[in-house]
């Protein structure tokens, strides 16, 4: 059995925990705790260590999904998770431009640690004030259209949308391994 470790990272409230809960075939190992800072205006609970889920693709391949916490103070967890990953997704909530800078920091952090196949998943694109993919790319500092990672729309609570994004990531992974 071939196992791929997929890291799901991104801003607080981008939908990392939902993403894994939506697609995992096992009950997700999550470490959610009550948010005691300004995050509680966004949501009640926040991940403090990691989320873990599993998705079997076929008889030979399985995906292990590891979600990171979003806050910078947990960057030691980002490191632990990304070091074991084979590919990763950065989730950016398209309707919260004030968080793009932080998303860029997470993206840069990962790039400074590893050189892995990755994609950017835009969540909350149906919300008011959501930015277009090209504009988000610019905000993330990805100016060159041809050289930037794939940017796709993800609805973290819709299983076919989450599956699509994983397929896109796997394509990147296969291309990198050829």
């Amino acid at each position: 059995m071939e196992a791929f470790n997929i890291a799901i990272t991104g801003n607080v409230g981008a939908g990392k925990t939902s993403f894994i809960k939506t697609i995992s075939e096992i009950e997700v190992v999550s470490t959610e705790k009550k948010a005691s800072d300004e995050v509680n205006q966004l949501k009640h609970n926040t991940t403090v260590a990691l989320d873990f889920g599993r998705l079997t693709l076929n008889a030979e391949q399985v995906l292990y999904l590891y979600g990171t916490p979003g806050q910078n103070r947990f960057d030691f967890m980002w490191e632990i998770i990304i070091e074991k990953a084979h590919a990763y997704i950065v989730l950016i909530d398209a309707h919260r431009p004030q968080d793009f800078y932080n998303g860029r920091r997470i993206f840069n952090f990962m790039q400074s640690k590893v050189n892995l196949p990755m994609i950017i998943g835009l969540t909350h694109t149906d919300c008011e004030g959501a930015w277009e993919a090209d504009d988000v790319a610019l905000a993330l500092g990805l100016k060159n259209r041809r050289r930037r990672p794939p940017i796709i729309t993800v609805n973290a609570s819709d299983s076919s949308s989450v599956a699509n994004s994983l397929i896109c990531l796997l394509e990147q992974l296969m291309m990198a391994n050829v």
């Binding site: 190992v29 470490t31 705790k33 009550k34 948010a35 005691s36 800072d37 995050v39 926040t46 403090v48 260590a49 990691l50 916490p69 806050q71 103070r73 947990f74 030691f76 967890m77």
Partner: protein, 122 residues
């Protein structure tokens, strides 16, 4: 309203009044520092986040691997111990002790301080 000054006083007394204890920190379960007496080389915010992450994983192990309610997380290194305990609801206490610390005594002192702190933050 939690009184930072008194929490800090209690922690300070605990750290300086208990043999072999090198530091302590009180943090929220989502990893934010409330009060701490730590060696200068340690970053308060990072230490707080680590303590919360570790305790939450330990609690998860307790639940999923049927170990019941977790009393403490005990990390033993060749230079000393770090112990994380739940302290009332949504609060974590981290204690750092050197290698000379007697474990029984350490756990007893931690139990005592935890009860005291839990009352203060309730």
């Amino acid at each position: 309203m939690i009184q930072t000054l008194t929490l800090n006083d209690v922690l300070q007394q605990f750290v300086s009044g208990t043999p072999n204890i090198q530091g302590a920190a009180l943090v929220s379960s989502d990893g934010l520092p409330l009060s701490s007496i730590l060696p200068a080389s340690m970053d308060e915010e990072r230490t707080a986040a680590m303590s919360a992450a570790m305790l939450s994983l330990g609690e998860r192990i307790g639940k999923e691997l049927s170990r019941g309610v977790i009393e403490r997380i005990f990390v033993e290194g060749d230079k000393g111990y770090s112990i994380m305990v739940g302290c009332g609801e949504d609060i974590v206490l981290l204690v750092l002790a050197d290698k000379q610390a007697k474990q029984g005594l350490l756990f007893l002192e931690i139990k005592r301080i935890t009860a005291k702190l839990a009352k203060m933050v309730a």
